[in-house]
């Protein structure tokens, strides 16, 4: 079980002009595991997630998701394969309600087109009902079921982050990539988030987290990958990473002699 690989990235590179945001990054994720990626600002963590989810097209390398190379596919195709994500800056649909946001997440798993919905055909209404129930279920999972009908703008930051997770769950993702889920959250909110992530991992969803909050990452992850200036500099269980000299150097800088 633990050996089953869901994502295998080999030699992934992404350049923006002269800046090498990612340099031959290779890693594998096992099904159902919780893996984190840490690194100083500008290390290329978000670029990595963007390259896997198709927002950026990688210059070199491959990313095999369940045996299929997804590098260079458009984002909507990758989403349909089952890679869900959240965003550092939320990127919620601010003109919609919480429920509608969660319902957009179900887009890939519903099929009725304009004519069926336009003429309000029974099959379109049934599908709409199913989507709504699933979206409510996902909101229930993150504890926001009662706020389903409130507009996004009225939610505090912590809850908006959770809406992002509920929205991604609508895709029934096999791999969920969370970009700084704990950023800006209070301590008790972070505790709840940890429980939620364990819940999701229990549902056989592979979790990949980018985070700055060290206690959160150390407590949560089975394995940690460290990125610095686009290179992978370390990988291992939390205890090993804590003691790794290169990691400490990357975060604190070298001693001036």
């Amino acid at each position: 079980m633990a050996d089953e690989t869901i994502l295998e990235v080999t030699g992934l590179s992404k350049h923006f002009g002269g800046i090498k945001a990612l340099n031959e990054v290779s890693l594998t994720l096992e099904k159902g595991s919780i893996v984190s990626m840490i690194g100083p600002n500008g290390a290329g963590k978000t670029t990595f997630v963007n390259a896997i989810t198709g927002v950026h097209c990688p210059d070199e390398g491959s990313a095999h998701f369940e045996g299929r190379d997804v590098a260079g596919l458009p984002p909507h195709s990758i989403a349909a394969l089952g890679i869900g994500r959240t965003f550092q800056l939320e990127e919620l649909f601010s003109s919609m309600t919480v429920l509608e946001n969660a319902m957009v997440g179900c887009h890939t798993r519903s099929h009725k087109g304009m004519f069926a919905t336009g003429f309000s055909l029974p099959r379109a209404r049934r599908e709409e009902q199913t989507i709504m129930e699933e979206a409510l279920e996902n909101l229930g999972l993150v504890g926001l079921r009662e706020k389903a009908l409130s507009p996004i703008k009225k939610l505090p930051l912590g809850e908006r982050k959770l809406v992002g997770i509920a929205r991604a769950l609508g895709m029934k993702p096999k791999l969920l990539m969370l970009d700084e889920p704990a950023g800006g959250l209070a301590a008790h909110e972070i505790d709840e988030l940890v429980h939620l992530i364990y819940d999701l991992a229990g549902k056989k969803i592979t979790i990949f987290v980018i985070e700055h909050n060290m206690p959160f990452v150390m407590g949560l992850s089975q394995r940690i990958i460290v990125l610095n200036e686009g290179y992978k500099i370390a990988e291992g269980p939390p205890d090993e990473i804590k003691a790794n000299n290169q990691v400490i150097k990357a975060y604190l800088g070298e001693e001036v002699s």
């Binding site: 458009p74 989403a79 990127e91 003109s95 509608e100 957009v104 887009h107 087109g113 003429f119 599908e127």
Partner: protein
């Protein structure tokens, strides 16, 4: 769920009832004719407003689709190739195909650039219709268009077109509000808010844009056909820049944040214009067009400054304010 929807549909039932009963109250062909144009232009503005405000697609091609729909139906009928109803269908298919050919490359453009490209289309089509004299009747226009007839029923009188155009207008509103409330509509509204999140949730944005573009183009074409069979006359100048300005004015004044806003805009503007012309016809008979343009120019500026959401946006704000007042007074009494 059904019961909650009932109060929201009540105003609509009332409006449809009033529109349906109007010809029973008045037999003035002036009023009926004006209301007819309100429905046709309103339907067109609704489609364009949806693209502009809800989908964020800044396309100015709607007068062109309206005009081409009008001309295809009319030319086929005048040349005796197809009866008006069949011409309407052929025209709609033609315009839909054209909107695909135009939309597939052009919808990659954003904002201002898309507006420029589609405006170019508008100018080209207007010139082409004027120059293709043997087919389109040239700049003088196409005359001798037969009236629309469906299954033996001939649409001759104003009141026939009145019911036809309002049925089309309300039908389109119903259809579009269903679309926008459903799966595809949610996807469309989602990429207006955040393209990044939308595509990461699996929305195929180029495809969605093309779909809604083609749908509104097809509806514009049907409206154009009804328009030409009602007028029994069509001319390239009708579908040029002035119509575009009118439509944008309707969308701004009515408010594009709701689907029906531009229809209200159409109603307000058409009657305002009739009022102005009625007054000025006596005082300044030679200056009517100029004063009209200045008046609407100033009106747009005033609306944009004081009620940026248009009339419907203002109504929403007013309703929220009243609700707040009521809630406030309840708290005081408690």
């Amino acid at each position: 769920m059904k019961k909650e929807n009932l109060p929201a549909t009540l105003p609509w039932i009332a409006i449809v009832a009033i529109i349906a009963a109007l010809p029973l109250i008045t037999s003035s062909s002036y009023v009926i004719g004006t209301m007819c144009f309100i429905a046709i232009y309103g339907a067109l503005a609704v489609g364009m407003g949806l693209l502009l405000e809800m989908a964020g697609i800044f396309s100015l091609a709607h007068p062109t689709f309206f005009g081409l729909g009008s001309y295809s139906g009319a030319v086929l009928a005048v040349k005796g190739i197809a009866p008006p109803w069949a011409g309407t269908i052929v025209g709609t298919l033609f315009v839909t195909a054209l909107s695909y050919v135009i939309g597939a490359p052009l919808l990659r453009l954003r904002g201002f650039y898309l507006a420029c490209a589609t405006f170019g289309l508008l100018v080209i089509v207007e010139i082409a219709l004027g120059q293709l004299g043997t087919i389109t009747g040239g700049h003088e226009g196409l005359v001798g268009i037969p009236p629309l007839s469906i299954a033996g029923f001939v649409f001759e009188k104003d009141v026939h077109y009145y019911y036809l155009s309002w049925a089309f207008c309300f039908g389109q509103l119903w259809f579009l509000s269903n679309v926008m409330g459903g799966r595809v509509g949610r996807a469309i509204r989602s990429f207006r808010d955040s393209e990044l999140a939308s595509k990461s949730m699996g929305v195929n944005i180029p495809r969605c844009k093309l779909q809604i573009f083609m749908l509104t183009a097809a509806l514009a074409s049907v409206g154009g056909s009804i328009y030409c069979f009602y007028l029994r006359f069509t001319q390239p100048g009708i579908f040029g820049f002035p119509l575009l300005v009118d439509l944008v004015t309707m969308i701004i004044i009515g408010g594009g944040t709701t689907i029906y806003g531009p229809l209200i805009g159409s109603f307000v503007i058409t009657w305002l214009r009739e009022l102005i012309h009625g007054y000025l016809g006596n005082i300044l008979p030679r200056m009517t067009a100029e004063v009209d343009a200045i008046f609407f120019g100033v009106l747009i500026i005033v609306i944009l400054i004081f009620m940026p959401g248009g009339i419907t946006g203002w109504i929403d704000q007013f309703a929220a304010w009243v609700k707040k007042k009521i809630a406030g007074s309840r708290q005081v009494t408690a």
